[in-house]
Each structure stands twice: as structure tokens, then as C-alpha cells.
Symmetry: C2
Subunit: 562 residues, 2 copies
């Protein structure tokens, strides 16, 4: 319930009724926030299953009570408005509950990529100034490593997953907690499940903070607003056709752009969330059949995984909608998935755009195309979501759109309510990204006559491996730190399983020696394993006349090695 | 494209990144407006049929061009921001186009109930200060009558419907235009169909003005904002399950709350609008079959009409979703419609809430109920839409909710973004309606244990006849003006065809005489025909000890006469 006393007084000037100074009132103005979705679904569907996790089933009434208890416990723990609560966990109920409980306490949710190394997690916890860290017990070793370097003063709450053993994780209760840590269920029990909560005073206030590996070494903290999260969730409902019959399987990490805001979208329609601790092919098919899953999302690697054992499985009894993003799904994968009973939607977006901002809308006229042509059409990034205001291909300096000829290159620019507020404590990067009235995606594309956008190249040196962004500059920094390395450049190498993997080109110092295993091990010791190069090529690096390394030449080299 | 220069400067205080003073920018803030839906659908579905009217088919590219031409012509005609453009027409393309063209010119759309009498239309045109009146040629006689009383200075644009003859209306071109009037197609041709348009500077600005007959005699002008219209349209998409395959038949007048905002919702999904000049049973079934209609709305009288000739028609080949509001559909009607192939959704709302604000959400557990019990459940007004923030039953003075016991009476209170900005030039009525943080609906209801609201009585003396609101006070005022009438009270009498009709109870002056025909004719000469009483009962009026007429006694009397 918003506080009417903070609203401006009522107008008396009769002539100004059409003008903006006819005041907003508590009666006719509510802040846009996805928290309202849970309040409504708990009222409309109290007994309906909201969350399934292994043997656990939470109704919408349960789910709402757990989230309010979390909010209450966080407030009691001293978490104040605008402060950060971090979560380090796979797709288990506490991470979903944090999407409501944390902002209900007025705080900001920071869901950390659980695949990151201790150094990066430590950087994030410090940069975000986390007051509370909720951690799955399987990640306690990493947290201990982080805390050895710097305590941060964050209170630690540990989740012991009762379903971890069945899913191949750490058995519940076996993991020892740090001295001052609290058990998650105890923490929840300390809160009041009936505590009333306040929506944010302003819909522009932050709801979450998601770190992205950009072109620089340190991750940047992307800040989302309640308004943007609410609208993107509604846009996803429309784009993906969710409704009260939706059963959503969590194959996409919730720490990726808050699960592309499906953490909120599924609740908006009163659908059912099916948690998934570990994404394994057998598990996915078993859950689809057991719970009648209707929708799921995932990076291309997930689609590859599903398609790979096509011959082993009988087709599904019902159609499952699966959305993917990051890279265009290959035609062979799409066809294999269709035979299994999936229908694929191709999305595109970035952490800075709350996940997907465009969708390759299927046109009825494509029904008659041959499979290859259909694949070519489906590979395009498409058009903006209904709630993403505009997507264009343009000259990034002048913002003048390129002709819709399918040939002229430009940069994809996005604008609207589903573009981030900015980067945390980084006004320079924020200004650069949001300059000129548009968000610069860094992706180079052409614009087709029918209005569909198609990516042709990345202007930023990002490698996307298994759905994770890897900054080539970050890897290069580690390589340059090796005593034998004179120069280094890292580019993406196409990979059947991972989509792309990092490939390093290294010029050694005069007289120095190093093997490729040595270089790879050096990297693995200093960064998350998935970021380390899979291949190292030694030799002089190709350069422009001004001495800039010609990465496009190296990309061609890397392709030949694939 | 919003003007970035008008936005606040960027923040430099690093610590305040989470606070609201991290500024909105052109890149990450777009005003919410349903106009963006047309821009997007014209980009995504340029060749798809957006509007069907008889033999006419307009693609989304055509539709967008016509709307921009209208905006351009209105601007050239001197219509400035915040000024009113009125439309007096049945559900024909110009009224739909006005939902985009008028606000694209920064103006406010006033769609006038085409069933009103000249005096009321004159009042509305004057009160709204209409600068342009777009009128269907079949209404020219009424407009001439209005203009005789007061010219208003509004420019008149006349639509000659090429399909009018086929639909039983005035043949195109046969109606003579007033001297200075312009033909609608000529007016459109004078505009630039490629003219760029600006979204409103603020989403709180007015998009439309809808007159409602409240409890007082003169209609009140309900003002909608761009924000509310956008959100209500998105809410309707979700509530009614619209998508790109939607074919929407216009059985609900577009002048009723802007067609409950379906004028915008159907465009949001790239669906097809099927216009309908006159709602006749045969026509409706013919259009459903011809165009594969998937969705339609209508007052209960429309449902009655469809159900009535059940035996005459073969069931439809596909399911048609039909939403109704205003009164609960009787079980017999629902069952007859289901046999014909319709699925009924029960909505509730008022002009002040952009049309429907609540929906009787179907619960899976109701599937097993017997028809009578299903009917009882479906008759309830239900729960708030996803985008309508909150709906409660409460004491209207204290706003304290009643217990959810299905027995305690309270008033339905609504709040959120889909409650009107206020009444035009009527701050006192606005304050009264929006007092205390809630919109008072005037409808008395109970709240069931499952959270569903059910109307038990109306505290306002409104009679709903054929989907139209009739103010009993307005009718009483006319009755009181009759020289023979001493006292008069008007209440609703249940009616199989119209739902309700006005029933007058009249006490004559001593020695005076008047027949019921005389009284009815007196009323018909002074107000819209549908508002005049259908029955007159003479005699002393029952009163409370303080002299207040006991309308509940009269309602019981009227029921017996039904």
C-alpha cells in the first residue's frame, strides 16, 4: 500500500485537467513492480503449486509466506533499503524466493554466477557491498576461500538442499557451516511469514544487480529497476505465451539476468516453477514428463545437449516451448528438437537489457519454406519485444539507421524501459553505454527489408562459451602476466559442444619457452576454469600498420582449428 | 523518439547508484503508451490484415499510414496538444483509427456513445470543447440538431461508410454534409501518411475522455492516461489470452471505455480487428465463420442475443472466447453459448476503471462442479486483473476490508494504474471518487473465502439496460419536470432481453391526472429513448421515518412486475 501522504496535493485548476499536473494519487497510481505478481497469484491461486523442487511442493500461499518470512528475517538482520543481498546457488527455491523476499525488504538482489572463481566472487561481494550472502552448501568451500581473502562483514546464510543428494550434489547437512553462519530454513523460521511489505516508493528504484563480464577485466554491476523488471516480465509473458497452465522448467540459470526475468513472469500468470539443481539430459526429460513442463529456456549448449541423444528418446507426449539466445540455433539442432517435441524460439539480448530484448517472431509465410530456408530465417535476432521500446541497426555515433537492405552493417542499438539503469559505481561506463539516447549493444548487424535484425559480428571481444560470457581481455591479462609471454590475443573458436571456446595466440619473449599445457594451466589457476583457453597457438601476431593486433585474422585462424 | 535534452542530467555521485536520482535517460526510459503497439505491429506484421470492414481490408502498414495521416491532418487543422477530438460513429474504421491518430497528434480522443440524444451529445461536445467532430453520415441528422442549439466551432468531418448499405445503414454518399464539413477520406488524404509522430512527453498525459452517466444528471467526463491505457491493454492481453492469431470481432462498442481498451490490446499482439457496424445475430455468426473470429466482448444483452436462437444454428467449427461484464451471465445463457461453441469469461469494471478491472478466473477445481454450481461460481466478479493493482471489499469510509466470509457486505474499492486520472473539470467529484487512496465503485459486495468478490447490490442508483448505464436520478429529474408529478423514483426492473429497464414510481399532485403513456412520452421527448421508463406505477411512495424514499421497497415491487 503506497503512502498517500507523500503524493502531491490535488489540483484545483479546472483548466489543467488534461495536463500532467492533474496529480497522481494513491487511488490511480501504483508503482510497477513484479512483487505485485506474487501478491496476486497468492490471492487467486493459494492452493496451486507454485514451486516444485524434487519432493518439495510449495503452493502459492506457501511461496508467498516463505518470501515474506525472508523479507522479515532480512530486515531483522539489519538489511536496509537499497542494500545488497547476494545469493550464490544453483536453481533452488531460496534463489527464487530471494527474487521476492529481498526486494520486499527494500533491498537489492545480487544473484552471483555460481560458475565463477573465488577471486571474482570476492570482487563482486566487495563491489556490491553485500550485507547478507545466501549460499548453497555445495559452494561453501568457495565462500571460505573468498572469506580468507576478505571477510566483507556479510552475514552468511547457508542452504542445505534436501534434494541435493538425489541430484548428485552435496548431501544435505553434511557440509559444515562457517562459525557465524545461519541455516536458511532457520533464518526463514526467524521471520514473520505474515509481515506486510511495502512496494518501493518509486518504480525506478533498484530491484537487482547482475554482474556481467564485459570487455574489461572486472565484471560490471548492471542495475535493474522495478519498472523494467515488471515490464520485461509482462513482455516475456506475451512473447513466450505463458498462462496459468504454464509449467516452467528452470534449465536457464536464475543468475542469468534474473533468469531473463522469468523468475517473475511465471509468477505473473500463476504458473508453476520447476527447480532444477543440475541441468542433465536425463533429468530434464524426466522432469518434463513428470510435471508436464510446457516452457523452458536455455543457452544454445542446452539445446545441443537435448538434441544430441535424439535417437535415445521417444518423442515427448506434448509440445514443449523452448527459448534460446546468445547464438542462433543450427538448423540440424532445431530439426532434431522438433522431432523430439520441442518448438524453438530464438531470442536476443544482453545482461544490460534484462535478458532478451528481441525475438525472431515466426511469420506464417515461413511455414512453407524448406528446412534450410526456415533455419536461415530463424537464425535472425528479429524484432523488439512489445515492452522493449525500440531496436534498430544504426551508426553508433550518429544513431542514423542503416538502410534495410540486409547488407549494410551497423550496430544494434536498443532503447526503452527494459534497458538497465546503469552500471553500479561506474558513471563513465554508464555514460558510454547509454550515450546518445540508445544503449550500444556492441553487436554488429544488418537490417533486413522485413525489419528483422541479423547479427554479423561482435564489435566487443566477447566469447560465449556454454552460455557464459568470457571477456577476451580478461584472459589476455592473465596471459600477459606469464613471464614467458610477450604478446597475447584471445579470440573465439567455434565449438560443437560449447558454441565457442577461448583460443589464445601467444608470442613468446626472445629465448623464452612454454608449452600449451603450461599456458592453459597458468590460466586455470588464475580464473574460472571455463574462461581458460582450450587451445594455444604460438607465433608472431598479425598487426595493422599502426600496431593494432588484427583479431579478425586470428578469428579466421581459430575457425580453421575448430 | 523522446527528446533526450529534456531529461535530467546524469548522476555523478557514485554512492547513489541505487537511488532514484540515478536519472532516467532517453536510452532507458520510454513513456508507456499504447501508440507504441501500432508502431511495432506495423514493423513486425506490415502485410498482415489489421482491420477488416466489409469488403475493405487494411494491412498493418495501411492501418499505420492511415493513423499517421489522420494525426497529420488533425495537426494541420489546428488541433493542438491536449485538445479534444470527438467521434460519433458505430464500430467502423475511422473510430478505430482515431484511437491512434488522435493521440499521435497529442490530442485527446472523445468517443461519444452513439445512442445518446442530441441534447446530451451537445452537452458533451461543449463540455469537452471538441475542436473536431468525426461523424458517421448516419448520425448527421443528430449533429444538425446539436448544431442548431450551439455551433461549438468544432470542425466536422463526415465518414461515408462504403459498407453501410450492406449492413443496413445509410447508403454511402447519400447523406448530405453540412456546408463546411469535410469528407473523412478527403481529410485523411490531406494528411501525410509518413509523418513522424511523437509519444506524449509524459505517460500520465490524457489519451481519451469517456463520458459516463453517473448518479447525477449530467454525464461526467472520465479521463484516461497513456500509462493506464497501455497497462490495461497489456492486462487484457493476458486476461483474455490474445496473441498474433487473434481475430477480434467488434461486438462491443468502441465508445464503451475505448472498447474496454481492446482497441489497443488487439493491436499489441498484431491481431486482426473485424469491424461491425451493427450487431445483429446473423451478421455476428457470419463474420465469425468468414474470418475465423477467436475473441469478442459484449454486454449481457449480446450474449442473450447469441444464445437466443440456439436451435437455429449449427455449432461453430472452433471455440470463440467471449467476455462479458455489467451483470452475471445466467447459467442457461452460458450453457446455450457453450453448446454453440463459445467460452464465456465474466469481467467486471466501470468506465472509471478503463472497463474491466476484475475477472472471474476459472479454477481447475470448478471443472467437476455440476452446471448449477458452475453458474454460481461464474456469476462472481472475481479477482483483480494482473495490471489492476488491487480490488477489495471494504468499509468505504475507513477502507478496512470486510472479512472473507461471503456474507459481510462492503463496497468494492479499486486502486492502481487503471483507475481514471479524474473527471474533467470536476475536482469535487474527482476528490469524492478517489478519496482515501481508493476508487469507490459504489457497488456493494461480499468477499468470499477464496478471494473472489461478488456484487450483491448497487449503492448507486444505476440501471444497466442493454449494456448502457442509465442514471435513475437523470430520469427522475425529467419526471419531476412534468406538471402533474409530485414525487418520482426510478428503479431497475429485471428484463429478459435488456437485463434491466427503468421502472418509474410516480405520486401525482392532488387533483392532477396523467396516464403511463403520457409520462413515458414526456420522457422520450426529453432524453435518449433507451433511458425512458418502460413502466409507470402510480401511488404514494414508501418512505423512511426521515422522509427518504425507500428504493429497496420499490425494487421488490418492480421485480414482481417483471
Amino acid at each position: 500500500m503506497s503512502d498517500q501522504s507523500s503524493l502531491p496535493p490535488t489540483v484545483t485548476d479546472e483548466e489543467n485537467i488534461f495536463e500532467r499536473n492533474l496529480p497522481r494519487r494513491a487511488a490511480n497510481h501504483a508503482v510497477l513492480t513484479p512483487l505485485s505478481f506474487l501478491r496476486r497469484s497468492a490471492a487467486v491461486y493459494p492452493d496451486k503449486i507454485a514451486v516444485i523442487h524434487g519432493e518439495q511442493h510449495f503452493s502459492y500461499a506457501d511461496f508467498y509466506r516463505r518470501c515474506r518470512a525472508l523479507a522479515s528475517a532480512l530486515t531483522a538482520a539489519g538489511v536496509g533499503p537499497g542494500e545488497t543481498v547476494s545469493v550464490l546457488a544453483p536453481n533452488v527455491p531460496p534463489l527464487l524466493e530471494a527474487h521476492y523476499g529481498v526486494p520486499m525488504a527494500g533491498a537489492v538482489l545480487n544473484a552471483i554466477n555460481s560458475r565463477l572463481d573465488a577471486a571474482t566472487i570476492g570482487f563482486i561481494l566487495g563491489h556490491a557491498q553485500a550485507k547478507v550472502l545466501i549460499v548453497d552448501s555445495a559452494w561453501l568451500d568457495v565462500v571460505r576461500e573468498v572469506m580468507e581473502g576478505n571477510d566483507f562483514g556479510a552475514r552468511v546464510v547457508v542452504y542445505h538442499d534436501p534434494g541435493a543428494e538425489a541430484d548428485g550434489g552435496t548431501p544435505a547437512g553434511n557440509a559444515k557451516m562457517p562459525g557465524s553462519a545461519t541455516d536458511y530454513e532457520d533464518f526463514l523460521a526467524s521471520g514473520d511469514p505474515d509481515q506486510p511489505w511495502q512496494p518501493p516508493a518509486d518504480e525506478w528504484l533498484a530491484i537487482s544487480l547482475n554482474y556481467t563480464s564485459g570487455t574489461t577485466g572486472n565484471p560490471k554491476g548492471v542495475v535493474y529497476s522495478h519498472r523494467g523488471a515488471c515490464l520485461n516480465a509482462l513482455g516475456n509473458v506475451m512473447t513466450f505465451g505463458l498462462d496459468a497452465r504454464t509449467v516452467y522448467l528452470w534449465t536457464l540459470p536464475m543468475f542469468h539476468c534474473n533468469g531473463w526475468t522469468y523468475t517473475w513472469a511465471v509468477t505473473a500468470v500463476g504458473g508453476t516453477h520447476v527447480c532444477l539443481r543440475k541441468v542433465e539430459r536425463e533429468q530434464v526429460f524426466a522432469k518434463i514428463r513428470e510435471h508436464g513442463v510446457t516452457h523452458m529456456c536455455g543457452a544454445p549448449i542446452i539445446l545441443n545437449m537435448l538434441a544430441r541423444g535424439e535417437g535415445d528418446d521417444a518423442p515427448l507426449e506434448h509440445t514443449v516451448e523452448v527459448a534460446t539466445g546468445g547464438a542462433a540455433p543450427p538448423t540440424t539442432v532445431i530439426r532434431a528438437l522438433e522431432r523430439l517435441g520441442f518448438r524453438v524460439t530464438h531470442l536476443y539480448g544482453l545482461t544490460e537489457t534484462y535478458g532478451p530484448a528481441t525475438v525472431c517472431v515466426w511469420q506464417p509465410s515461413w511455414d512453407d519454406l524448406d528446412p534450410e530456408q526456415r533455419g536461415i530465417h530463424m537464425a535472425r535476432q528479429g524484432v523488439n519485444h512489445v515492452t522493449a521500446d525500440e531496436a534498430i541497426v544504426a551508426d553508433p555515433e550518429t544513431q542514423v539507421p542503416v538502410p534495410r537492405d540486409g547488407a549494410t552493417m551497423g550496430e544494434i542499438l536498443l532503447r526503452g524501459n527494459t534497458v538497465m539503469k546503469g552500471y553500479l559505481k561506474n558513471p563513465a561506463a554508464t555514460d558510454e553505454a547509454l550515450h546518445g539516447g540508445w544503449f550500444r549493444t556492441g553487436d554488429l548487424a544488418v537490417w533486413h527489408e522485413d525489419g528483422y535484425i541479423e547479427i554479423k559480428d561482435r564489435s566487443k571481444d566477447i566469447i560465449i562459451s556454454g552460455g557464459e560470457n568470457i571477456s577476451s581481455l580478461e584472459v589476455e591479462e592473465v596471459l600477459y602476466a606469464h613471464p614467458a609471454v610477450l604478446e597475447a590475443a584471445v579470440v573465439a573458436r567455434p565449438d560443437d559442444k560449447w558454441g565457442e571456446t577461448p583460443c589464445a595466440f601467444v608470442a613468446l619473449r626472445a629465448g623464452a619457452k612454454a608449452s600449451d599445457e603450461e599456458i592453459i594451466d597458468w590460466c586455470r589457476e588464475r580464473m574460472a576454469r571455463f574462461k581458460a583457453p582450450r587451445a594455444v597457438v604460438f607465433g608472431e601476431l598479425p598487426k595493422t600498420s599502426t600496431g593494432k593486433i588484427q583479431k579478425h585474422v586470428l578469428r579466421e585462424e581459430a575457425k580453421k582449428l575448430a
